[in-house]
């Protein structure tokens, strides 16, 4: 394989990037440095500004403020066609009137690469996404997964310094999504490009990216490796996004050695302090369902089971605490609906964040 990303262009840097739509701030001052060859995921719920950030990097949206640098070159005033990036769109955006070959070769022809050289690179691109046999078909004759591969091939044959991907898997069915994750990561590793990948699916981000940027309300909430984010979310909303489905508001009783005791749901639980809290203040206790176990210990949160389902290996269910908080828990043996249970949080997996000011 000879398709390889352009190297030596330097890191991509966003400095104070702002983007406003009318009075709405879609990006409220973003600072981010992406190293060459990195696979970065921009993760967040819809409307968090992740797609706006990607479009600003691509040049499809002008900035309202700030600057974007590639190495020591400022690029935010360049037109999209002058930046030389590759991009994969959520809707694929294949040219409907061109066959697969022409679509893949479009960027090359725009760059003036012609003849045997262009043909060779298109062939390699098609081989990379394993679509050699479909080369003369029109996009309308391909399945969703095949169209996706064409879009990826089109983005990588121009050997761009950076490949931008805007939720590329969201239009595919679940099985195909799993396959394409592996495929996209393989292509990234093969050509060694920098990849910026926008998604709202934390599984996708965790399994594919070197680093994840979690965004919310146009701001970056946390940047870190998948493990960082999964184990050590810095804020309650990041935790929420990382699968800490139980969010219990409470009041801090005591703080010592990075641990806090918090009164929640009519009892007291212990957890690791993530945001500075002091005794007497309100706090939020976050915990994943798999770390809130029914019947593991005599102490814990008393609750009544409202639903239970079997998900291989363990049971997962919902229960109502005495104060009416809905809790998601794990059980290693079956429990009945309406059964009274005690839900024990694992102290090392229980996180304490600052609560809303009372």
């Amino acid at each position: 394989m000879t398709i390889a990303a352009r190297h030596g262009v330097g890191a991509l840097e966003l400095r104070g990037v702002r983007r406003e739509f009318g009075s709405l701030a879609a990006l409220a001052g973003i600072d981010l440095r992406i190293e060459e060859g990195e696979f970065i995921a921009l993760l967040g719920p819809s409307g968090c500004g992740k797609s706006t950030a990607l479009n600003c990097i691509a040049g499809l949206l002008p900035l309202s403020g700030g600057s974007i640098w590639l190495g020591d070159r400022r690029i935010d005033r360049l037109k999209p066609e002058e930046r030389g990036f590759g991009m994969v769109f959520q809707s694929y955006a294949l040219f409907p009137h061109m066959n697969v070959r022409k679509n893949v070769g479009f960027g090359l022809s725009m760059k003036g690469v012609k003849g045997a050289e262009a043909a060779r690179r298109v062939d390699e691109g098609l081989a990379l996404v394993r679509l050699q046999s479909q080369a003369s078909k029109l996009p309308g004759q391909l399945s969703g997964g095949q169209q996706q591969r064409v879009a990826i091939a089109r983005a990588v044959v121009i050997e761009p310094a950076i490949v931008l991907m805007d939720e590329p898997l969201s239009n595919l069915d679940a099985k195909l999504r799993m396959e394409m994750r592996v495929e996209i990561r393989r292509i990234h590793d093969t050509i060694g490009s920098t990849t910026i990948y926008v998604t709202h699916d934390q599984d996708e981000a965790l399994s594919m990216a070197d680093r994840i940027v979690v965004m919310r309300d146009g701001m970056i909430r946390q940047v870190g490796t998948p493990e960082d984010l999964y184990e050590r979310p810095l804020h309650a909303d990041v935790a929420d996004f990382m699968g800490f489905r139980n969010r219990m508001p409470g009041q801090v009783r005591a703080v010592a050695n990075g641990r806090a005791e918090v009164a929640v749901c009519g009892t007291t639980v212990q957890g690791l302090v993530r945001e500075p809290v002091q005794a007497g203040a309100s706090a939020v206790v976050s915990i994943r369902p798999e770390d809130l176990v029914a019947g593991a210990s005599a102490s814990g949160i008393p609750a009544r089971v409202t639903a239970i389902e079997y998900r291989g290996r363990a049971f997962f269910g919902t229960a109502l605490a005495e104060d009416g908080t809905e809790l998601f828990f794990r059980a290693d043996r079956t429990v009945a609906k309406d059964e009274a249970v005690v839900l024990a949080p694992l102290p090392d997996r229980t996180l304490v964040f600052a609560g809303a000011p009372a």
Binding site: E20, F21, G22, P62, S64
Partner: protein, 308 residues
């Protein structure tokens, strides 16, 4: 020499200042692409909006001087002029209603057809050929020696030829031939927009064909029928060539467009002609406004069912 960096700074500051305005305009949808609308828009303003306003102004500038309203006073005091409104309505209203009453049941039936295209192609013929050709064709076909009268006499329906040209009925016939396909094709596009599952649901829940039509289909297509009625009526009200060629333009089919045409091109009184054109537009507008006001009372949401 020292001014060079200063200029550079000033230029950079200028860009910094200029950019937000361009972005602000772009954020409101105003950029180079938006300007593409201008050539077409200006053409329509110059050729449609301006002439209309000019005509309105001209209608208040009588040819022989006099009060601003004298054209309008003259129109409504001269029976030869004001009766054209009644004459035109007597032709246009029945024709529009008959066309609509025929179009709805036929469209309901045709939407079940698999090969609608043959029928719609046949029906688009008279619309495409236009009123002048239809008038010429009907002069012969409906004439006293024409095939229509001959067939009715052969069938024994009538004893002698019926006079169907150069009178009211000739104009009505031409408006039926060109107007029905127009009304029908519009109606068909509304009827086929209704999700068949809604009627199936009606049937499953015990509605007969009759009540399915009156309780489910009709309320859903009524807003569309109101629009169809307006468009068909406005077309019929503006009847011109067939009223001249196939009617009796001096008497029973002296429609309002003939009065306007004669004022402009026979008396060269553009002021009066404009006044008559404005009155014509006003009558059309009044009826359309009345129908659309009634339409506001109807359900106007999606008709394709609630899925997706």
């Amino acid at each position: 020499m020292s001014s060079v960096p200063l200029d550079g700074v000033a230029a950079a500051a200028g860009i910094e200042e200029a950019l937000p305005l361009r972005i602000k305009l772009a954020a409101r949808g105003l950029d180079g692409t938006t300007l593409l609308v201008l050539p077409a828009f200006l053409a329509i303003v110059a050729l449609f909006v301006y002439p209309f306003l000019y005509g309105l102004w001209l209608s208040f500038q009588p040819k022989d001087g006099g009060a601003a309203l004298s054209n309008y006073v003259r129109f409504f005091s001269d029976p030869f002029l004001y009766e054209t409104i009644g004459t035109t309505l007597r032709i246009a209203l029945p024709v529009t209603i008959v066309n609509l009453l025929l179009a709805v049941p036929i469209a309901m039936r045709v939407r079940l057809m698999r090969r609608q295209r043959i029928l719609t192609t046949i029906l688009v013929l008279p619309v495409t050929l236009g009123t002048v050709l239809v008038a010429e064709g009907l002069l012969n076909y409906l004439g006293p020696q024409g095939w229509f009268n001959r067939s009715l006499m052969w069938l024994g329906v009538i004893a002698g030829p019926v006079k169907l040209t150069n009178n009211y009925w000739g104009v009505v016939a031409s408006l039926l031939i060109t107007g029905f396909p127009f009304t029908f094709l519009l109606t068909l596009s509304y009827v086929t927009g209704i999700d068949p599952a809604l009627e199936q649901a009606g049937a499953v829940h015990g509605a007969s064909a009759r009540s399915r039509f009156f309780r489910i289909v009709l309320p859903l297509i009524l807003p569309g029928l109101a629009i169809t009625f307006c468009l068909s009526f406005v077309q019929a009200f503006a009847v011109f060539p067939s009223a001249v060629l196939l009617g009796a333009p001096a008497g029973p089919t002296r429609v309002i467009s003939i009065a306007a045409y004669q004022a402009a091109f026979e008396e060269y009184d553009y002021s009066l002609a404009s006044a008559i054109a404005m009155i014509m537009g006003l009558v059309q507008f009044a009826l359309v406004a009345a129908v659309l006001a009634g339409r506001r009372l109807l359900y106007r949401g999606p008709v394709a069912g609630t899925k997706g």
